[in-house]
């Protein structure tokens, strides 16, 4: 019975076919009034969450009846609130908490979080949000844990790692409410390596990535491993705050970095390095940064969470529109947000950029903004955490993905805005020329010659 009081139970796969956390609905086509099929599924999910053992659940149900059991559960899981908050279309119910602080790192990945401020999306959803520039990923993580920030811009793998207790003292349940950007990163090399365009020639190189738990780290590792180099033995990888990447490149402390923009472009702008490859050529559509919330926000202030998610999804859609990109660059480059030269930010967002090799490239898809947190992304992140032994135990890939990548909520908010929502949060990804089937992660992992687990 003790399991009944767990707030964030690890779930088995629900009857709807996809697994999902207890506090969320499973049926993608649920009615908007919070009753009917959706309400039933929430109830059933809650019961399943509290009593994962099917025999026990059936036994209890026949003994007490669903109503009694559910009312007993109400005290533990505020089901009513979640149900109502989710069922709200526009106009939204009043947020429980209006004054919010959201931390961001000054990189173009943060564009939606930032843009929701000047565009008034937060205000439109009844929120008074202060977006606060923050010094680094560890700082933003610690402030989010300390609840100095109500929500935060994080690297997509961070909430996964935090929820699993990897890289932090205790597991702290955080979730990716929405992906911020896809693509939009690059490998930048020092100018002296202009002729070393094949990663096979990179033995002994020193690389910087923004954080251990970052898609940057995993992509760089996968990329060099694909070329036959062991990322732990044949090259060096260091965690370096993005702004210092350019300075380190200039000082010849590193040979290159896989980092976020605008720092790739800034290296070109300052004549320090060139863009070797855009990450969209490694994995088109890869997630980079996330809009992360503590799981307790979802249960404690469901209306605030719903309003915030809508504002973010709206800003993401706005930022993704190529027609808006110049204006977006104009809005975010200034000292209050990114604090970078306009042309640098504009090159990143429009995709018309100097590559540092004397050419001007036109890649409008250089960076994209798509809020949908595919579970397949989370599973790939988990395979890489496991591959490089950051995660030292086996986990239920799908369950962790559902817990940390809240595809249903983001999908709901997207649908309200008239965006297309994928049928299933699992899809096959093409990464470095290989197909990754998220339903077969073990087979995928076993296919690598270079790995640490």
């Amino acid at each position: 019975m003790a399991r009944m009081f767990r707030r964030d139970p690890v779930l088995d796969v629900c009857a709807c076919g996809v697994g999902h956390p207890a506090a969320f609905a499973c049926a993608p086509e649920a009615p908007p009034d919070g009753t009917g099929e959706m309400g039933r599924v929430v109830n059933e999910a809650a019961l399943r969450a509290a009593f994962p053992n099917a025999a026990t659940r059936r036994g209890l149900l026949s003994l007490f009846g669903a109503g009694t059991l559910l009312s007993a559960l109400e005290g533990v899981l505020p089901l009513g609130n979640v149900r109502e908050a989710l069922a709200q279309g526009t106009p939204a119910a009043a947020p429980e908490k209006r004054d919010l602080k959201i931390g961001f790192i000054p990189i173009t990945c943060a564009t939606p979080i930032i843009m929701a401020d000047p565009m008034g999306f937060y205000r439109r959803h009844g929120l008074n949000v202060e977006v606060i520039r923050t010094a680094g990923w560890a700082v933003i993580r610690d402030r989010a844990i300390a609840r100095e920030y109500d929500a935060a811009h994080m690297l997509a793998p961070m909430p996964v790692a935090m929820s699993l207790g990897v890289g932090v003292a205790n597991p702290i349940p955080f979730a990716v409410a929405a992906i911020e950007n896809i693509n939009g990163q690059a490998i930048t090399l020092a100018n002296k390596h202009r002729d070393k365009r094949n990663p096979r020639d990179w033995r002994g190189f020193r690389f910087a990535v923004p954080f251990d738990f970052s898609i940057h780290n995993y992509l760089l590792r996968a990329y060099v491993a694909e070329a036959g180099l062991d990322p732990d033995r044949d090259i060096q990888i260091r965690s370096v705050p993005p702004p210092e990447m350019v300075a380190n490149l200039r000082a010849d402390n590193i040979d290159g970095f896989l980092g976020p923009d605008p720092f790739n472009q800034r290296a070109v702008f300052d004549g320090v390095g060139f863009i070797h490859i855009l990450t969209r050529e490694l994995w088109d559509g890869h997630p980079c940064c996330a809009f992360a919330v503590p799981r307790s926000m979802i249960t404690d202030t469901p209306n605030t969470y719903a309003a915030l998610l809508r504002a973010i999804v709206e800003a993401t859609a706005h930022s993704n529109d190529p027609a808006n990109r110049v204006a977006v660059a104009q809005a975010i480059h200034g000292p209050n947000y990114l604090n970078q030269p306009l042309t640098v930010v504009q090159q990143v967002l429009t995709g018309t950029f100097a590559d540092g090799l004397g050419g001007v490239q036109r890649v409008p898809q250089r960076i994209g903004f798509d809020p949908y947190p595919w579970h397949s992304m989370a599973v790939w992140i988990l395979t890489q955490m496991r591959r490089w032994n950051q995660l030292q135990r086996d986990v239920d890939w799908a369950a962790v993905a559902e817990q940390t990548f809240l595809a249903l909520d983001a999908g709901r908010a997207m649908r309200d805005l008239g965006l297309t929502v994928p049928e299933s949060p699992m899809r096959n990804e093409t990464i470095l020329g290989r197909t990754f089937d998220p339903r077969q992660p073990e087979a995928y992992m076993a296919s690598f010659a270079i790995r640490r687990n």
Partner: protein
Amino acid sequence: MAAKGEAWRAALLSALLLAVLLGAWEWAVKGGGGPGGPTVDAELAALLSPAAAAGGQTAMPAPSDIGARLVELLRDPFHQRGTNDQGIGIQIAWSLWRVMAGFLLAAAIAIPLGFVIGMSPLLNAALNPFIQVLRPVSPLAWMPLALYTIKDSNISSIFVIFICSIWPMLLNTAFGVASVRKEWLNVARTLEAGRWRTAMRVILPAAAPTILTGMRISIGIAWLVIVAAEMLVGGTGIGYWVWNQWNNLSIADIVIAILMIGLVGLLLDRALGLVARAVAWQE
């Protein structure tokens, strides 16, 4: 008269050194002449910094660039355009506030505690191992612990100021109190001055110059540390401003920040120097 002439000559020499230094700097940055590298087409040139377009790297800013930027910054030092864009004056005020809060808190604890330790050889011996172990710890090493336990970055940075400025004051107070002349204490005893009266009228003024020396060391350390602490936790303050301009690779702003940090540090030290002079005595 000779001393006055000497001072003038020293000032003149200082000015001359500065002029030579700045002149050499200016020449080293700008003296290289016009762009000599490959010229690129107009579209590409618009996407690059002038130096990069000329085939080079962006250079260190020259003193004239820094001067121009300084004028720009000081024209409106207290502007507030959003959470993340506030004037340099406001940033310095934030740092000063944190330093003062941590420093005064440390003084409020270190001076009375130092008094007790200085008067009691037993306590002195008992606490000494702790002090000796904790004192050499780099203040920033406390930061993660503070953030983890206090869970508030602003209070954490104040705590770090507190913890790093407490030791010089504690040790100096204890030393100053312990080395008060026995004969003054004997005078107080023969005059039947009570403990409190002895502490306030004899020990405190006797130890005041030593205590003030400790306070001067402390405030110097506190000002050093706040910059680093703010670079680490961000938000507000001159240290954050440095981080922020570093983020923008704006070396001119960083040079200005260095100048400002130096000046404020000097002013803090001078202010305590005046207090020290007021309590100094000479036999």
